[in-house]
Each structure stands twice: as structure tokens, then as C-alpha cells.
Symmetry: C2
Subunit: 377 residues, 2 copies
């Protein structure tokens, strides 16, 4: 007896897109190649690697040389934050309370190296106050970092404006665009950022692979020094298979982004309206503008880990908070920062372009009952 | 008209072993999973990840919890060297002139943070003087790092003894075992190391993936902080496919290591003897004990990049030095450290268990002619 699973945790990860797998196959199944070798096998691998970089650069409207391949999204964030700060003289860095653990971890690493950290709070909707951001900038601010869209509640920050303010104060501006990727425009010129981090597996590329856009001329101290790969910004034998799969996945995601956005927003809104109507004392965390693919909900008095476990038994995979704090259902620091709901009581439901109305309607049946039962016990 | 290529640059990279690809397939082709998610999909991925870790730990005779998965060999070296040093109070670190660029790069990163670096020289055979190593240890030595086997000339260092000396002086000892993997025993207890770095693609696992053994109780500052994955030692969504492929490749390499060693050593010795006999003014760089799978040769007056390019046209892929200094045929720092041969005149020929006598005999025909012609011009 197999149960059809309803997976609604796509913000945690998306399966490898078929276009990505097909692009990777020749490199997984073929003969030996090292893109840094000078012989024919090496040159062919190098050409494939640079073609992948070019295709990714086209989506970001950047130069090919501005794309650094890394071993994942967290590494991209760490490379940008530690690497940009270390290359500048100021010893102050600026961030926000609702950033991803990878960003907060990199900020802590800077604190241990003697940097002063300012962590801005957000309002009850999850929004950062732009004036407070400007006021927190100092003459010795090396770097500010604010995520493009929040991975738990989906709120979108005014990146262009924050980058502009940073530049007026001669600070570098980094954005973690990992949750935004596949949904929001990644035009780095329009966003005015100095660096932007992506994780391939969040838009249907392979796991263990990420990339960092770094604006030309921006000094960066590498996290992994050594063999000079990635123009000295990240050493190690290049993963041509992953780069090629990432390019294919990114193109596939953006080729259909308008239709996908309309589809997931319609289903997400149907889900939200249904749950708010059916479940007393329920609320949506975070407000517009926000990502179309996810919703974060609190059901007063109901622990999210228990609710998620209950839904799991009913065949529905959702997440209490984010999967990115490894295997632990700790209270969400994002919900805590809003100050409006119990941080242990928020669940995230996230959709994919292939999510169906039938799946959403099943969730609309199951959650109200599960909440009622949990509230009774 | 396709030419059958003779690839003899397996020290640069080995193709993905069929056992690795088959192990990875379910994770590449299957539905979404994030090993840090708490629902059923996440728990299944976590179980597969930990099974892979257990299988790898068995080869290293370590505990499962001592294996940290990373984004590659260079990252493993950087994590160990910067991470072990930063967790200790001493500000002196000790290394060797013939280390891989990833190690030397990490040492430079420490130098920029105020550490004092001692880089020991080697003799004309590539051997480190154990007494000189002991004499260079100081009361404030935080870390010593010496590679298990050299990636260019194959010389094997007395790791157990160096680790012992380091511990007598309360310093941590790291070894880069990337070139040794698949050939030499990786028993970390016998080696007495505190940490040991591996790159999966060097023994038939996937590219973009590595691992670091870190002895239990050894403090380590993470390079990529954040979500708490890998017990806080390396943040980022776990790459279950790569971990599973790496476990399968490592097991496959060691299941046949005795037979493989005998095979490649016999062919390597045949190649060396033949070339030394046929080519005047030729020499082998590095002496026993050394890896069985590679040879490094100098042909006096012949630039290695020109010779490698010539062989490439004849269908033979070999490397002038290492591929690990990205795409640049720079003079080898390893050969320079020996002081016996022109560092621009050394080529590395490296074999796999599936290399044939026919391939070796073809090389024995082609190289003497190529050297003669290059010497004439």
C-alpha cells in the first residue's frame, strides 16, 4: 500500500530538473576530464564550463567573468560576506535579523575577527525600515547584506534602494538571492548589488553547487585559496557537470517564470484564504511584496513541529520554519523577529510550478482537522 | 576519422566510476529531498547520507561523526588548515615546499592573518628531513601539515612519525591525502593524524565533493558557518547524491587496491625503464617510497608544455606538472624544490587500473621521437 505523497516543501529543495540532468549526463557518464588540464580533454571541459557560465551570466545580465562557481549557497554567502569585508578597511558590517543562517553565521565569523556587527530589526510584517538602514550606515561600514526575499516568509526587500544607500556610504552591498531565484528577476545591474548568492538546488539544479555574482572590480578575499580556479576566487577542480546542470535549470526556471508565478500564486492564495477562513486564530506571517510560491502560517497555540509531524503521517510534507537549520525544529528566528506570533507555531508551505489544485485541496481538508485535534490535546 | 585517445592524466582526475554513478542515480532522478528536513522525504535522505558516511568511515577506520563532507579537496584542506589553526592559540604553522597549491594557499591565508609560517625544504629526491621537521616545531606551533603522497612526483611522507612529533609538541597535524587516496591505506588511527583531506573525483567519485576526517574532540572553526549541518563544521544543504557516489567509489577503489597497485606499478615501471633507456639525458623525479600510479620525468632541455602539447596532437593526454594550478603551464614548484631539474621540463604520466600495456607501448614509441624533434628545434 503506497500512499501518494504531497510534497509542499519546495522552498527546502526542488528535485533536479530533467533539463539539468540531461545536460549533466555526458559529464557523469563520459570519460575523464579536468577543466584545468591543457590537453584536448581538458580544453573540451573548459569550453563546456565557460558556456555554462555564459548562459548563467545571461540570466543575471552580468559578465561571464563576474560569475564564481562555489560548493553551495551557504558557501556563496560566506565567500561574499567574509570575502568582501576582508578586502576592505572598515570594520563595521550591517545586516538584518531575518537573514538566513548562512548570512548570520558569516556575520558571527566576522564578529570573532573583531568586526562590529549591527543587526537591524524588522517590523511586524517582516519589512526592514529603509531609513533605519540608512541611519545605521557608518563611515567605517565595509559591507551591508540584506536578503532579496526571505526564505521563510517570502517578504521582498527593496534591494536597489539599499544597494544605492550602501554605495553612497562607500560600503559594499551583498544580497542572498537564494529564495528569490526562480521567481524574481535577477538582473544584477537593476539590483545594483556588488554580489549576489544563489544555490543551484533551489531552482532545480544539483545540490552541492552554488554561485556568486561579484561585480567586476570588486575586491574579494577567497575562502578556498589555492590553484587559481575561478580567477583566484575559489580553488578546486571545477565541477563541469554541476555548472552545466545549473545553467540548464536556471534557464528552464526563467523560461516559464511568468506562467509559474501566476500558477503558484493562484494556488497559494487559494490555500491561504481557505485556511484563514476554516481555522480560527490563524494568521499569515509576512506581507506583500512577497514571493508567490510560499506561505507562512501560524495557528495560535499549535506547535509547528507537532503539526508538521501530523501532516507527514497524513502524507503531506511541509516544514516548521526552514530546513536550513539542520534537522532541528528550533523556534524560527524569523518569526521571532516579527514579534507577532509564537516562533514555535509557524509552518511554511511552499509550492512548485507542478503543484496541483488537487494537492492544495487535500491540504485544505487535512490542516483544519489536524489543528483542531492538536488544540484539543 | 576518430582517433583513439590515450588518457594518462588520471592524477588530474578519474572518470566517475560506474558504481558511483549507479549509487547516485536514485538521488539525481528521484523526487525532492533535503536531508535536513524532518518529514519522511528528509529522513530517508538523512538515512542515505549517514549510511554513506558510515561506509566511508569504515574505509578510514574512523567514527562516522569524524567525517565532514565538503565541496572538494581544496576546501577540505582550507577547512583543516585555517580551521584547526584558528581554534588553537599558537600563531606558528609548519609546512613543506612541495605541498599542493590548496595547502600553500591556506598557509598564505594564515600569514595574512598574522601567523608565522615555516616552509621546510625537501632533498633532491623529494623527501622531507624528519629531524629538520622536529627542529622546526616551536612551543607556539598550532599546526603542521605535510601531504601523505605528493601529487606531482608521488613521494610518500612518513606521516605517522610526523604526526607523532607534532603531538609531542602539542601541535595539530593535518595531511592532504588527496593524491594518496585509492592507493595507500587511509587508516587514520595508524596514520595518527588529526585531520585528513580527500577529494572524491580523484578516486572515481563525483567532482565538487570532498571530505575531511577530523579526529573526535579536535576543535575546528568552520569555513562555511550557518545552518549547523555536518555538526556545525560545514553549513549547506547536504549533497546526498555525491556522498553516496563517493562512498561507492572509495569502496570500489579499495576493494581492488592490491591488484590495481600491482598492475599500474608494473606498467609504470615498464614505461620508466623504457624511457630512461631510449631517451638520453632523461631522469625520474622523486624516489621511493612513492605512489605506484605515476611517474614524473624530465628530458633535459625539453619544455614540458611543448612536449605535452606535442603528445596531445599524437592522441596522448599527459600533464606538465599538475592540473591543479588552473590551466596554466607554470614551472612546477615541486620540481623547483628538488633543485635537480628544470622545473619547466617535467611531465607527469599517471595511470589507472584500466590502463593497458598497449597504451604504454604506444607512449614508449611516441615520446622518444617527440623529445628528439623538440631537441632539434
Amino acid at each position: 500500500m503506497t500512499q501518494t505523497r504531497i510534497y509542499l516543501d519546495y522552498a527546502a529543495t526542488v528535485p533536479l530538473r530533467v533539463q539539468a540532468l540531461e545536460a549533466m549526463r555526458p559529464f557523469l557518464e563520459g570519460p575523464a576530464y579536468n577543466a584545468s588540464s591543457l590537453h584536448r580533454e581538458g580544453r573540451a571541459a573548459r569550453a563546456a564550463l565557460e558556456e555554462a557560465r555564459e548562459r548563467i551570466a545571461r540570466v543575471l545580465r552580468s559578465k561571464r567573468s563576474e560569475i564564481v562557481f562555489t560548493g553551495g549557497g551557504s558557501e556563496s554567502d560566506a565567500l561574499a560576506i567574509v570575502g568582501l569585508a576582508a578586502a576592505r578597511s572598515g570594520k563595521h558590517v550591517l545586516s538584518c535579523a531575518t537573514e538566513h543562517a548562512a548570512v548570520l553565521g558569516a556575520m558571527n565569523a566576522l564578529a570573532e575577527r573583531g568586526y562590529e556587527i549591527t543587526t537591524l530589526s524588522v517590523d511586524r510584517h517582516g519589512a526592514l525600515d529603509v531609513d533605519a538602514f540608512a541611519a545605521a550606515m557608518r563611515d567605517d561600514t565595509a559591507l551591508a547584506t540584506v536578503m532579496y526575499a526571505n526564505n521563510e516568509i517570502g517578504t521582498i526587500a527593496p534591494i536597489e534602494r539599499l544597494a544605492e544607500i550602501s554605495h553612497e556610504r562607500n560600503a559594499a552591498f551583498h544580497t542572498d538571492a537564494i529564495a528569490a531565484a526562480g521567481w524574481l528577476p535577477l538582473d544584477v545591474g537593476a539590483l545594483r548589488v556588488d554580489s549576489l548568492a544563489l544555490a543551484a538546488h533551489k531552482f532545480g539544479g544539483p545540490k552541492g553547487f552554488g554561485l556568486l555574482y561579484v561585480r567586476e572590480g570588486t575586491p574579494l578575499v577567497p575562502l578556498v585559496p589555492g590553484g587559481g580556479q575561478e580567477r583566484g576566487r575559489r580553488a578546486g577542480t571545477e565541477d563541469v557537470a554541476a555548472a552545466t546542470g545549473t545553467a540548464a535549470a536556471l534557464e528552464a526556471a526563467y523560461a516559464e517564470v511568468e506562467r509559474s508565478t501566476e500558477h503558484v500564486r493562484r494556488l497559494r492564495d487559494r490555500l491561504e484564504r481557505g485556511l484563514l477562513a476554516k481555522v480560527p486564530l490563524s494568521r499569515v506571517n509576512g506581507s506583500e511584496p512577497r514571493l508567490p510560491d510560499l506561505t507562512n502560517l501560524s495557528f495560535s497555540g499549535v506547535r509547528a513541529d507537532l503539526l508538521a509531524a501530523r501532516l507527514d503521517l497524513e502524507g503531506i510534507a511541509v516544514s516548521p520554519g526552514s530546513a536550513c537549520t539542520s534537522g532541528v525544529a528550533a523556534p524560527s528566528h524569523v518569526i521571532a523577529a516579527l514579534g507577532t506570533a509564537d516562533p514555535s507555531a509557524a509552518i511554511r508551505i511552499s509550492l512548485a510550478p507542478w503543484t496541483t489544485e488537487i494537492e492544495i485541496d487535500r491540504v485544505l481538508q487535512v490542516i483544519p482537522n489536524a489543528v483542531s485535534e492538536l488544540r484539543r490535546t
